[in-house]
Symmetry: C2
Subunit: 334 residues, 2 copies
């Protein structure tokens, strides 16, 4: 696809007008690893920042099979009906390997994908979790500047990416399945501790009893956790994404939470802590990029790696030599 | 305590003679965050490297309450009786916060702590997991140079530190408890997948039946995992640390494994992969150190953090400005 090359001002103008095509191309820029793209992307983000921050950001996680796509589809539709504009993003550091395990296919969100006022974007695929997460965090800024006032950030529910998502959202929703005690154990304790709400999917037909049982189990489990920093008691609800039962109640919980933390000041406090977190994350990520993207370093690393693998050199010495070389290169720069 | 200041050659000479007091001071040097100490420590490590690598390194993990201390005590005694020299190290990034949750107290290893030919060292307490793990990895080098031919690396069994330990040992032992199915679920799947052997503690008295049941459950669970890279089928054994039952069999399993992987070449292959991993880990860790330990950067970061918290500046801009300043400082260096 041949594209016009916009200036940063043109990107920003398009984004502020809510032009989805330009927003989409700006996100591609954010996701690109090319140096020129990164420079331009950072300019666009900086100019969009004053217009960002006004949305409600919701992290959605759940193990594969919990029905995340169907749920996001109906939750999203509910949000649109209330007159909101919705962006659906994702963090899945494994998506390159597994060729887009989440959100790779918009058609999985049948209802949402044909709506206006919705922007669906798969997970950035390249690089480390830190890099992928930062790109999604930056994409949130662009989406907010484009007028999207509700942001979903989906993640896979099996790894470390939950922590990254948790660090960029206001409300963290955990989707679980009705069923035996196994499901309760299947999710990591750390992920349950992050949840502001747990919702049990497929509470329909023969499954209602089991869903209620799971609800009771999760409520018991949550009581064992220390009180949340927000002062909010995480709730456990049942619903059915497929039959669209209980969607209103799930969303009411989220609205209640946002009201609650906006009143007690935690909403703002958490956002500030997240900003601090992202300052350090961005620094760490860019320190690494600066090093590993240097062509001379790349060459030397390749050689050192071979020597280390053949036991011709120790890992510590090899690391020291590459670092010494890197810092000598930097000191020679004008 | 007032100490002589040794040169790196004096440290190395003492270590190679097996002088525990000098070894201990060298480890303190490795753990220190002072710049001069780090420089000296790296010299000592580099000089010890040719004498390292000859030990068998065993990672030992298990959730709190599984009886790790008692087990290490009797496993260690078994190793000593076979004529080996044993170093017991640990990785616990939380140890500063919780004031030494593992190995903080040598008296927890009653039998081992009064023996000769054993060197027990608590987890380095300062800093990130990466930093703590690197220090332990470097301490292994010193211990091996000092003639310790068996290295235990203990970890807490609840977090990410298992991955770090796995990256520095030849055999990874998971200690579990006999009991209900809950215990099976309590440990993370990722940790189970790393285990070359699972041993179920407290298989004594009334508990034997439950231990056998847990053994069967773990065996079944292991069959669901993909085959290991080593070609070794992880084993599940029962034992009693307190009553010293089944210790010989546990250790025979480890000896069998080492024979097996030395014959099929995996032992050497894994060590090479670990060296490569440590080259990159060391680079990443030291890149961060170089940045965060710079006094000018520290000052600027403190200021930027306040501005970000007060929403006077965005996290991305703040990060960019600190990085720009850092690289400008470096380019001015001679």
């Amino acid at each position: 696809v041949k594209r016009r090359h916009y200036t940063s001002d043109e990107y920003v103008e398009g984004i502020l007008k809510g032009d989805i095509s330009i927003l989409s191309q700006a996100v591609t820029l954010v996701e690109s690893n090319l140096y020129e793209h990164q420079i331009l992307a950072q300019e666009v983000i900086a100019k969009c920042l004053p217009y960002s921050g006004q949305s409600v950001r919701i992290g959605i996680t759940g193990v594969p099979g919990a029905g995340k796509s169907t749920s996001i589809d109906v939750f999203g539709l509910h949000v649109l009906k209330q007159g909101h504009k919705l962006a659906v993003l994702a963090i899945d550091p494994s998506s390159e390997r597994s060729k887009g395990s989440i959100l790779g296919d918009k058609t999985r969100m049948e209802k949402l994908s044909v709506q206006n006022d919705v922007f669906i974007r798969p997970s950035p695929s390249a690089g480390s979790l830190g890099g992928v997460a930062r790109k999604t965090r930056e994409t949130i800024v662009l989406c907010e500047a484009a007028g999207f006032d509700t942001i979903f950030v989906e993640t896979v529910g099996v790894g470390q990416s939950e922590t990254a998502v948790h660090s960029m959202v206001d409300f963290f929703l955990l989707i679980q399945l009705a069923g035996t005690g196994d499901e309760l154990q299947g999710i990591k304790r750390g992920i349950m501790e992050m949840a502001d709400g747990i919702v049990i999917n497929k509470a329909d037909g023969d499954n209602i009893e089991r869903a209620k049982l799971a609800q009771a189990q999760f409520r018991n489990a949550l009581h064992l956790f220390p009180p949340t920093l927000s002062g909010w008691q995480p709730q456990v609800l049942t619903y059915s994404g497929y039959y669209e039962i209980g969607i209103f109640e799930v969303w009411k919980m989220i609205d209640d939470y946002i009201d609650f933390v906006k009143k007690n000041g935690y909403f703002e406090h958490k956002r500030q802590e997240q900003s601090k977190y992202w300052m350090f994350e961005t620094i760490n990520e860019r320190l690494k990029e600066h090093f590993y993207r240097n062509p001379d370093i790349e060459k030397m690393l390749f050689d050192k790696e071979q020597r280390v693998l053949k036991s011709e050199e120790s890992s510590f010495i090899a690391a020291k030599e590459v670092l010494d070389y890197y810092f000598s290169l930097l000191s020679k720069q004008k």
